[in-house]
């Protein structure tokens, strides 16, 4: 059908959206052909190895690189004394090797560059640094004198919100819960360590970077090195997970670019796993006090969620854990507050569902405590507290599927009949219990641009700088394009993962498919329109249409837009060892239209699996003496393994919501973890009869409470 003047048939042959299309890059990933950032080896490439600071606070007083430079094959050792000067960055955490100050243990203070990985590592170990160490403070306490009220928290939300008169309503409530929940720091630990391969070609910088957004990485690198953004290209074709930790520019890209400039050679730097907790962000620890006041019917009259957390001295990042309490339940008198203290710790940042994941652990545990106090089914308690409008803003919900998710999830799980008594179900040495918790995540959409192209041979090409960190972005964008064009998916090529493609927002905030998809949809619809009006054959170079969504997204929405969900978990507690295991888990989600059930299911289940880790295995300690994280490797920081994750089911409602985007989708990448840990914790209470309010529920935490 070459030179067909109307390559678009009038009717779509089928509906690609909603089809369980297999991942476009699947074959490349199972054959090892997919290449990640460190796996690009331009000629004369050399390797870099970083040197982390060994004090928690202080200044470098001397640098001696003589021994390092004397080793065979060593090209350079960069320190603050000789590294290229950078422009002041938007994010101070990437201002590496710019001065002698050490803001936290593990901050990068030098970089060795050599012919081989082995030589670079040996050179890094041979760098001699002396420090003037200062007394450090790394310990978060709920009464820390440095705590203050931040104006804003992550996501741009106000730090504090008050409605009505919480104190009076709480004092007058018939039934009250006052509970404090404690979460340690958590680490993202994507399987691919943060890595970059960088080279300069004249004045042009190219970086293969493991980033969740190469448009932003390109802009940030250009600003740091004082370049026009046209003089920087960032490529992130395949990214081995990120979970937020690759959402911002990270030191590996900056250091690799510096080293490449100094040596004149392409440089690869992959961060050692043990150094990652200090330099790629973490979920900040939180101490969360939740107070609920209710009548005998369980309807909330007062709700306070007060969060204490830490940030670093480098920058302010406040985990917005009290924000979901502004969305979830009817509460005429409400107080949601964050307090933060800047400690000599690594800078916290995004980890899957920042705010919602820790905040909903506390809120949903407290709701379970209230249900127990009232002797009310916890599903029913939640149903009784459904708000008519978003409590914090009074705005109507564009759609709110929590009630249906709870009801249908309960049915599928076999929630009822349920004996509410805790600590009574035995299977040999095991105590059994079930738990439920709700989930929520906001609908976020950011401006993006895309280009759609029709070739004379009937093929189409969509170009957009989306990033596939494992979500299946290529695949779903191909589906969206095919639907908008009215052609089979096989005829649509998708190009993503390079900053010289049309600018797009990063893969974060569960916003990717909505943000990128909208731009792709708009470009494809415009192209389809052009083609259908066309009287002549396409020229040899085909026809391209560009679109961006700035206007649509700036227009905003009068609706409160959130995804919702419900988790159900069955656990066993070993009364001999204290080991808790999740026997089965079921998530029911209301997240708009599900565009690809195959990849969506994987994301929901993946989030739930990470929630099992949050509940049972993942734990990080800030050592007060050493001043750094103790669990810095995967032998001590326990991400769930295959044997920890038994039966997990994810289901979703068929939710039509016309107030979202042309595809009708909400984000799905993060809601799977939200509430998952609370469902497990509530099930442990039901099994054991003891309320444990500090995660994770490792055997040592459970042992003292065994019957």
């Amino acid at each position: 059908m070459s030179h067909d003047p109307q390559p678009v048939p009038p009717e779509a042959p089928r509906h690609p959206l909603g089809a369980p299309t297999a991942r476009r890059e699947g074959r490349a990933k199972v054959t090892g052909a997919a290449r990640y950032a460190a796996e690009h080896a331009p000629p004369h490439r050399v390797h870099a190895w970083p040197v982390p600071a060994t004090v928690a606070r202080g200044r470098i007083t001397s640098v001696d690189t003589t021994d390092a430079l004397a080793l065979p094959g060593v090209h350079a050792v960069l320190t603050h004394e000789n590294a290229p000067r950078l422009e002041p960055p938007e994010d101070p955490a990437v201002a590496v090797l710019q001065g002698p100050a050490v803001p936290h243990r593990g901050w990068y203070v030098a970089l060795a560059v050599a012919d081989t990985l082995e030589s670079a590592r040996a050179a890094a170990e041979a760098v001699r640094l002396t420090y003037a160490a200062e007394e450090h403070d790394v310990t978060l306490t709920p009464d820390h004198p440095g705590l203050y009220l931040p104006k804003e928290v992550n996501g741009g939300y106000p730090g504090t919100r008050e409605r009505g008169d919480f104190d009076a309503a709480y004092a007058g409530a018939l039934v009250t819960v006052d509970a404090t929940y404690t979460l340690t720091a958590l680490h993202n630990h994507p399987m691919e360590p943060h890595a970059a391969t960088a080279w300069w070609d004249g004045g042009h910088l190219t970086v293969h970077d493991s980033t969740q957004g190469s448009t932003k990485a390109r802009d940030d690198l250009a600003a740091l090195f004082g370049l026009d953004r046209r003089d920087v290209t960032v490529v992130s074709e395949h990214v081995g997970g990120g979970f937020g930790s690759k959402g911002t520019l990270r030191p590996q890209a900056v250091l690799a670019a510096m080293a490449a400039r100094v040596t004149g050679r392409p440089v690869t730097l992959a961060l050692p796993r043990r150094e990652m907790p200090a330099v790629v962000g973490h979920r900040a620890p939180t101490v969360q006090r939740v107070r609920l006041g209710a009548g005998a019917d369980g309807v909330l009259t007062a709700l306070a969620h007060e969060v204490v957390t830490h940030t670093s001295t480098v920058k302010e990042f406040v985990e917005q854990a009290a924000v979901p309490a502004r969305v979830m339940y009817t509460s005429p008198h409400s107080r949601t507050v964050h307090r933060v203290v800047a400690l000599d710790v690594p800078s916290p940042s995004w980890m899957r569902a920042p705010g919602e994941a820790p905040g909903m652990y506390a809120l949903e545990s407290a709701m379970d405590e209230l249900a127990v106090l009232l002797d009310l089914d916890p599903v029913e308690l939640r149903l009784r507290n459904e708000p008519a409008t978003e409590p914090d803003t009074g705005r109507p919900f564009s759609s709110r599927g929590l009630t249906r998710a709870l009801r249908e999830g309960a049915d599928r799980f076999g929630w009822r009949p349920r004996d509410p008594r805790p600590g009574v179900r035995r299977d040999g040495d095991l105590l059994l219990g079930t738990g439920v918790a709700a989930a929520t995540y906001p609908v976020l959409i950011f401006p993006s641009s895309a280009e759609a192209h029709a070739a004379p041979d009937g093929g189409f090409r969509v170009r957009i700088n989306a990033t596939d960190i494992g979500t299946g972005a290529r695949t779903v964008l191909g589906q969206i394009a095919a639907e908008a064009l009215g052609v089979p998916e096989e005829r649509v090529r998708v190009e993503i993962g390079r900053s010289d493609l049309p600018d797009a927002f990063l893969a974060g905030g569960s916003s990717g498919t909505a943000s990128w998809g909208w731009a792709v949809h708009k470009a494809c619809r415009a192209l389809r329109e052009d083609l259908s009006n066309r009287q002549h054959p396409l020229p040899r170079e085909g026809l391209a249409v560009a679109a961006d969504t700035r206007e649509e997204i700036a227009a905003g929405s009068p609706y409160a837009r959130h995804a919702f969900g419900a988790h159900f978990a069955e656990v066993q507690v070993d009364t001999v060892t204290g080991e808790v295991r999740v026997r089965r888990m079921l998530g029911m989600f209301a997240a708009g239209r599900i565009l690809n059930p195959r990849t969506a299911r994987s994301q929901f289940i993946g989030g739930m699996a990470m929630g099992i880790g949050m509940a049972l295995t993942e734990h990080s300690t800030m050592d007060p003496v050493v001043g750094g994280f103790t669990e810095r490797d995967l032998a001590s920081y326990h991400v769930p393994v295959c044997a920890d994750v038994h039966t997990i089911e994810a289901h979703w409602l068929d939710e039509g919501d016309p107030h979202l985007n042309p595809m009708g989708s909400k984000g799905i990448g993060e809601i799977g973890i939200v509430g998952a840990a609370a469902a497990v914790g509530n099930a442990v209470h039901h099994a054991l009869g003891v309320r444990l309010r500090t995660l994770p529920l490792t055997p040592d935490a459970v042992l003292p409470h065994l019957p």
């Binding site: 991942r23 699947g26 074959r27 199972v30 054959t31 090892g32 990640y36 796996e39 690009h40 080896a41 331009p42 004369h44 065979p72 094959g73 012919d115 081989t116 990985l117 082995e118 030589s119 040996a122 993202n188 630990h189 399987m191 691919e192 490529v235 395949h238 990214v239 081995g240 997970g241 992959a270 796993r273 043990r274 960190i469 494992g470 979500t471 080991e579 808790v580 295991r581 195959r598 990849t599 994987s602 289940i605 993946g606 739930m608 699996a609 990470m610 049972l616 490797d633 995967l634 326990h638 991400v639 769930p640 393994v641 295959c642 044997a643 920890d644 994750v645 038994h646 997990i648 055997p699």
Partner: protein, 214 residues
């Protein structure tokens, strides 16, 4: 544009106190390499041979992303020094399939969507290939009932697969799909075991154990 890939690294001093020449048979092809004694099998594959399908996740034997088969046994290649593997046969993800197709495990992983970011996937696949052979050879795991006949092939239930695959971390949480995919592949009549020959076991770290929740 990205410059073209460099040839295998031949730089550096000749064999001697810090370097040795070894022959590694990788995916059936012999490679004679002069390597720094500190070079791991993983870096020999990734950096010196350009076989980047094998992944570096932790470089400490804790994540399993670097799993390959060494003389048929699965091993964390980051814990093996290449210089100690002279004459060994290594199978990487690039060598699992025949030239013109996919290994049944690769096919099943695609069918089941048993991965997301794909970074642990080559290690999962090689680990699964080795694990199938271990079970067929009658190696018990922590969850194998003590009623089974010693040395008889072990039936790969979901619990057996979960236990035997717990040395390979997946942060995307694809475990349920991985277990299903491996189950599919075991049912596949043509699932070819990767041939293994007995080798100096002392040099090989077998990745058969399972780390669990506690």
């Amino acid at each position: 544009m990205e410059p073209t890939a460099s040839p295998p690294d031949a730089a550096g001093p000749p064999p001697g106190a810090t370097r040795s020449t070894v022959t590694l048979h990788v995916n059936g092809v012999p490679h004679r390499l002069t390597l720094d004694h500190r070079t791991t099998a993983l870096d020999a594959l990734r950096v010196h041979l350009g076989l980047t399908g094998t992944k570096k996740g932790c470089d400490h034997g804790q994540c399993g992303a670097c799993t390959v088969l060494v003389d048929g046994w699965r091993a964390n290649s980051c814990l093996l020094l290449a210089v100690a593997l002279d004459g060994s046969a290594l199978t990487t993800v690039e060598g699992l399939a025949d030239a013109d197709g996919l290994h049944p495990l690769q096919h099943a992983f695609m069918e089941r969507d048993a991965f997301q970011c794909g970074y642990c996937t080559p290690g999962q696949l090689c680990s699964a290939a080795g694990m199938l052979q271990e079970a067929a050879d009658g190696h018990p795991s922590h969850v194998t009932p003590d009623t089974v006949t010693p040395g008889a092939p072990v039936e790969l239930t979901a619990d057996e697969i979960r236990e035997r695959m717990s040395g390979n971390l997946c942060r995307c949480g694809a475990y349920p799909r991985i277990v299903e995919a491996i189950g599919d592949a075991t049912a596949h009549p043509a699932a070819p075991p990767v041939p293994h020959t007995v080798h100096g076991i002392g040099a090989v770290s077998v990745n058969g154990g399972g780390r669990t929740a506690s």
